[in-house]
Structure formats: C-alpha cells, structure tokens
C-alpha cells in the first residue's frame, strides 16, 4: 500500500482515494452520507482565497469542507502516472 496523507495536505488539482476518517462526529457523518466512503475517488479542486475551506470533487459534484475536518480525512494520492 502506498503512502497516505491527510486530505488537507493534498495538492491542488491532484486526485486521491479516500481511505479512512473518524467514525463519529456530525461532520463526518454528513460527509459519509454525501457519498464520501472509503474507496471513493476525489479530486482537490481548489482552496478558498485565504487557504480555507477547500473544495473537492467527489462523485461528480463539488463539495467544500474546512481544513479542520480535512485534517482527519486520510487519503491515498494517486500516483501521477
């Protein structure tokens, strides 16, 4: 298995596969219900002007979340092959 990083450390424009995030907490519950599940592919689209929040593309739509949540979302970057 290749290296994993927090979603907040992903560079803009790169894609990754979601590995895991906390089981509880309303924010994570909502993310899960909106289709962010382990194994889901996502792309970091951009960050807001002041670096926070971030915008990702997941299952064909765009979603924002704050860095404070993205810190806990562990992803596996896709190799830029």
């Amino acid at each position: 298995m290749s290296d994993t990083v927090p979603l907040s450390k992903l560079s803009v424009g790169s894609s990754a596969v979601l590995r895991e995030y906390p089981k509880s907490g309303t924010a994570f519950l909502r993310l899960r219900e909106m289709g962010m599940l382990p194994g889901t592919r996502l792309t970091l689209v951009r960050t807001a002007p002041m670096g926070d929040p971030i915008e990702i593309k997941v299952r064909g739509y765009n979603l924002t979340l704050r860095k404070s949540e993205a810190d806990h979302v562990i992803v596996e970057p896709e190799s830029a092959a």
Binding site: G35, L37, V45, A48, M50, T64
Partner: protein
C-alpha cells in the same frame, strides 16, 4: 415482508410529497406543477417554510402537493431536514402523511441523489422518480437508461428538464394514475447490525406505536445518526427504544463495529450496482464543464474573487438606491393620497386621526421600504439560484469563522446594510440553529437605509457645509457603517463564546454548478417572500403604529395648540421628559427623547418627529429650516443643544440601538418567541446607551 403490490384506489384525492436534494430543481418543478396555486406558511412551532400546492391531473382532478425542504438524507441535521423526515414518517400532527412520494433527482449527479431515494424506498410508499436536469447530464456525456431504471426499481421513472417544462405532462399523467407500484429495489442491511434493526423495529412498533414499515425505516435512520435533530412537533423516542439503542451502541463501541458507516456503505453499494446498469459515461467534450470551472476559478480567485464580490454587491446597492426611488415616491404619494381621501370622506375626529395619522401613516412608513426589500429579495433569490451564493459563502468562510460563524452568515449580514428584514429572513439557509440565532441577533447592527436620513441630518448639523471638505462628511458616514459592522462581528464573537456557545459549525456545503435561473421563478420567490413579510409583520406594525400615534395625540391639548405644543404635552412628550434623566448623561434632552421614541416606528421617522417637535414645516426636499431650528435649539440654561459632540453621539446611538418595529416583528416570527426580540431590544439599546455615555462624557471631559 408481505407487501401489497398495488395500493388500492384512495377514496380521496391523493396527497403527494415532493422530496429531493437541495438544488435538484425541486422548486422549479413544484412551480411548474402547481402554477400559482400555492399556500406558503410555516410549520407550527418551527420556522420552516411549509409549501402546499394543488396540481390538476389531465382530467382536472385536483392533487395536493407538499413541497418538503430539500435534504441529502432523512437522518436530519437541521430543523428543515427534521420537518422533511417527520412529514415522511407521518409523525407530525399538523401535516397529513403523504400517500405517495415524488422523488426528484439531479441526473448529472445520480449517486448522491439516489442515497435519499434509497432511504425513501424504505418507507414502503408508492414512489415516482423524476430524473431532472437531463440536459446537464447529456452535456456531461452521461447517458441514463430510463427504461432500465424503471425495470430495476419497479416504479415509474420520468426524464425531465424542469426549467423548460419538459416531463411535466408525463409526470402529471403518472401522478393521476389510480394505482402506483411500490418500489421493489432491495438493498441488504449489513449482517452485523441486522439483529439491532429487528429489535429497534419491534420496540418502535410496540412502544412508539409505529406501523411496521415506518418502524423499520425509523430504526435504520436511528442507526445512521443516533442523535437526529428534533424540532417542535417531532415525536420523542420512547424510553424503551432509547435504552435499546444505547445498549447496541455500547456493544458496538466496545467491539469496534462501525454500524453507521456500514449502513451508509451498504446503501451506496446498492446504488453502485443500480447505476452500473443504468448510466453510461460517454466520451465528454468537456467544453461546458471547463468553461464553468474557469468561471469558478475567477469567482474564487484570491484577487478576482473579491473584485467580483465587490462588483456584485455594488450593483446590488446601487440598484436598491436608484431603482427603488421611483416606486418609493409613488408609494409615498399614494399613502398620502389615501390619507387625504379618508380625510375627505370622514368627519373630523379622533377616529379619523387614528386612521390617517396612526394606521395609514404608520403602515405607510414601513410599506415605503417595500421596493427596497423586494429588490433585495430579488437579488438574494438570483444569487441563490445561480449558485453564486455558495461561492460567496466559500470565500467568506475564513473571515466569518474568526467570529465563530460560517460563510453562510455572510449574505444575510450583507443584505442587512440595505434592510435587516430580508437579511433576517435569509438566515433560513443557515442550518445550525445557534448560528442562525446569532446572525439574527447581530444583523440589525448593519446600518440599514432607514438610518441614512438620520445620519445625513446629523452630519449636516454637525459640520456646516462649505466649511469642511466633503471628505469629512463621507468619512463620518463610513465611520458609522464601520462601527455597526464592528459591533455586529464583536457581538457575534461574544455570543458564540457565551450565550450561544458552540463549536463553529462545519462548512460542509455543496457548490452547485452554475445555472441560469428562470427570471419568472426568481420573481415568484420575491413576491412570495415579500408577502410573507407583509403578512408576518403587518399586524404588529399596525398595532404599534396606532399605539405610537396615540402616544403623540393624547392627552389632547385642544384646538388652539400648535402641533409642537400638542406633542410636548402628549404622552410621548411626557415620556420624553420622563426619560430625560436617563438620556441626559448622553447629552440628549426630552425633545430628542421624543425623536428616539418615535423612531421605533422606523428610524427615519426621527426626521419628521423632530420637525414637529421643533415646530418646523416638514419638508422632505429641503432640510435647511430644520437644520436652522436644530442649530438654534438650546437647553433651558441657554447652552446649545446640538453641539457637534451631541450630533455624533446621537448618530452612534442610531447605529446600535434597536429601534425598528418591523425588525422586531420579523425576529419574533423567525425565532418563534418574544424572548429574542426583547433580548435584542435590551442588549442593543443598552449597549448603545453605554457607548454613547462613554463618548459623550469623555468628549465633554476633553472639552468638545
């Protein structure tokens, strides 16, 4: 489970619920189905909009439609979503449980949209699936096999493009079918939790009195989110059921089962299988998409993002002040024409004065802001339905987060610069109830347009024109706006740390694709919100206007008294005298006190009230005589009353004090109690007093 394949012919017209994710085109579809036959109100006890409409089948049969608030899941996280869940589960006494459900999904984003549909299938009601935004899906290279969806789900599926009315006829035809099949889509509850589902279902049936299918659906929701949001009208869980839920959670926490995660994953697995069979991703040209992405890149850019935001806001305020001028003039003249007409029709007397000077003038003073309010509603609606609102929230979130709010509070606060009423009504998009309340509480600090006449008058009195450069005046004006803004953020910060303590809510928000809204829909929404305001605030405004009039008209000084004498010895005058000890430390006398009291009708009334008090012929266009009178006004000992320091203090008072009955009325409606508007009057006015005290006293001490 033993399900009937068809529901038997209902004896009355069927009640439909309309459900879907936010931004899937639900309102557009609802408007298309019902036309103008809508009733907009509130669910009792909660400030969630309740929209019920009537659609007619091809044969003219009426069908009732309930438009439920948009949601991503039935596991409710906000009051709006709680209402959607409660209505669908049939647990609200005020709303009949829908017989059938129309689910709208966004074709360009099937998987996430189908999650809600998957939950709705659990309810065991006939469902019609509307696959909306087919045009966008096609543009994105998605080919959706409607026939296959129909076959796999066993229910009618209709391809639609609501914004063009495509699919409406098919939908109406299907809705008027006597028998509608139940969905046959199956998904497997994960083995690890199936025992708990059965136990919770049994308890919900036995202890909470739920019908079997509803009990199962509710059990599954409880396992998705163990602490769902409940609102007034929601049924609490029975003790027995809560105990069972707790026990399971303890067990799972101990052995590390991710019950909620596996449940959600199981639903998405089923959806994955469904979409694998029904959606074909074709080669995309990607033209449209990349264009929209480029727009987004600009709108959220470090430099351009702010420029765009600034430009849009300038356009908004410019149009409010220019476009509103004409209708405001018309309203003003028609109000006075109406008053004149009443005067000509009725014999002189107290009743006539009550109607003309009390009711008509008072309500007129509020209605005159209607054009501004409507324009603001129009812009807010436009920003919402194009998708820009979400971008504004996105780029503002970081700043709002500093005071503990999230980006969604930004637009409501900004709108409050024109008028707090649309601003406060726009807080409905804020999910977190505490955040919403904080935003409502601080919104009136934003200097609204009703304060402008007061500022202008005071600035004119403060700095005689000709002697000082225009920059000083503009600077003073900006200072007032700045003060209000700082006050709003300061108090938001304070409230989030004390009274309404809470973590900053997460900023999990969809950035919907840009869409061209139909102007008609935006207009309808504007009219709807405008009339909601009139209905809500109307009675309170009317009542208080009459009270305020009575305060200045009684006791009657007799025929020979001048208006100034009449006011001076009226209740208002007495009240002005009575509060003089309180406001004297701020440098205000009883005459200013009358102005302050009258300002409760609307702040701009200060100008006309002081005209009466200082016995100046009221003249909108020319305030020179009033200025003259103000400059020559004195205390009994001959000191001038309106010193520059007093003018400044008075302006600061107007920045902070809560003096607007329409706002009070709207806050009362939006928070559903008198507690918060009263608190708002208290803290805002108290703070205004305190700050003015500091300014006046230190100013005097410094020799100004």
């Amino acid at each position: 489970m033993n399900l009937p394949v068809h529901l038997k012919t209902p004896t009355r017209a069927p009640v439909y619920a309309l459900v879907g994710n936010p931004n899937c085109g639900k309102s557009t579809l609802f408007n298309g189905l019902t036309g103008l036959k809508q009733k907009v109100g509130n669910y009792p006890g909660v400030t969630v909009e309740r929209k019920i409409g009537t659609a007619y089948s091809q044969h003219g049969q009426p069908m009732t439609l309930i438009d439920l608030p948009g949601t991503y899941s039935l596991a409710a996280r906000s009051p709006d979503e709680a209402v959607t869940r409660d209505v669908l589960l049939g647990s609200r006494d005020d709303t009949q449980m829908p017989d059938r459900i129309v689910c709208i999904i966004d074709a360009s984003n099937l998987e996430r949209n189908l999650y809600l549909v998957n939950q709705i299938f659990d309810l065991g009601r006939p469902v019609i699936l509307v696959v909306n935004m087919m045009d966008l899906a096609t543009a994105a290279g998605l080919q959706i096999r409607i026939d296959r969806l129909e076959k796999d789900l066993g229910i009618p599926v209709i391809a639609a493009q609501a914004s063009k009315g495509v699919g409406l006829i098919e939908l109406k035809l299907t809705m008027s079918r006597v028998d509608l099949p139940l969905p046959k889509h199956r998904w497997d509850v994960p083995a690890a939790i199936s025992a708990s589902v059965a136990e919770l279902q049994a308890s919900l049936q036995n202890n909470d009195g739920k019908p079997p299918l509803i009990a199962r659906a509710e059990a599954l929701l409880l396992l998705t989110d163990q602490n769902p949001v409940r609102v007034a009208g929601s049924q609490p869980l029975s003790d027995r059921t809560s105990v069972i839920l707790d026990q399971w959670e303890k067990r799972w926490n101990a052995d590390g089962t991710d019950w909620s995660g596996s449940l959600v994953a199981a639903r998405y697995d089923a959806i994955g299988i469904l979409t694998a069979n029904t959606v074909l991703q074709q080669e995309t040209h990607g033209m449209r998409q990349s264009r929209l992405d480029r727009i987004d890149g600009i709108v959220t850019h470090e430099v351009w993002g702010w420029t765009v935001l600034g430009a849009i806001m300038s356009a908004l305020f410019l149009s409010i002040f220019t476009l509103a001028e004409l209708p405001m003039g018309l309203i003003e003249s028609s109000v006075s024409a109406l008053a004149d007409w009443v005067k000509s029709q009725m014999a002189a007397g107290e009743l006539r004065d009550l109607i003309t000077d009390g009711a008509i003038a008072g309500v007129g003073g509020v209605v005159i802001f209607l054009p501004q309010i409507l324009i603001l509603f129009f812009f807010i609606g436009l920003l919402e339905s194009t998708g820009y609102m979400a971008r504004a929230a996105f780029i503002m979130d970081r700043l709002m987060n500093r005071v503990g709010l999230n980006g969604k509070s930004f637009i409501p606060l900004l709108s409050s610069y024109a008028c707090a009423i649309p601003g406060i009504m726009a807080t409905r998009t804020i999910e977190d109830p505490k955040d919403r309340l904080v935003t409502i509480l601080v919104a009136p600090f934003m200097s609204c347009s009703a304060r402008l006449p007061v500022y202008l008058l005071m600035i004119a009195a403060l700095v005689p024109s000709g002697e000082v450069p225009i920059f000083t005046k503009v600077g003073l004006m900006l200072l007032m706006y700045g003060l209000g803004t700082c006050g709003a953020f300061g108090f938001a910060w304070l409230f989030k740390r004390t009274l309404l303590r809470g973590e900053p809510p997460p900023m999990i928000m969809e950035l919907p694709p840009y869409r061209m809204p139909r102007i008609k829909d935006v207009f309808m929404q504007m009219i709807e919100r405008g009339s909601l305001f009139l209905k809500r605030a109307g009675t309170i405004v009317l009542a208080i206007s009459i009270v305020l009039w009575a305060l200045t008209a009684y006791p009657n000084a007799g025929e020979s008294a001048t208006p100034a004498e009449q006011v001076a010895q009226s209740f208002a005058g007495q009240a002005g005298h009575a509060i003089e000890p309180i406001i004297k430390p701020l440098g205000f006398n009883w005459e200013i006190g009358i102005g302050l009291i009258s300002s409760f009708a609307a702040r701009e009334v200060f100008v006309s009230a002081t005209s009466v008090v200082f016995n100046v012929e009221e003249d909108e266009e020319n305030t020179a005589p009033l200025l003259q009178a103000l400059r020559s006004a004195t205390w009994p000992d001959g000191r001038p009353l309106f010193t520059p320091l007093v003018c400044l203090t008075l302006m600061v008072f107007y920045v902070f004090a809560m003096q607007c009955i329409s706002t009070v009325a709207v806050v009362r409606r939006e928070t559903n109690s008198w507690r918060w508007p009263l608190f708002q009057i208290g803290y805002q006015t108290g703070f205004a007093w305190l700050l003015c005290l500091v300014i006046y006293q230190s100013g005097t001490a410094l020799g100004f």
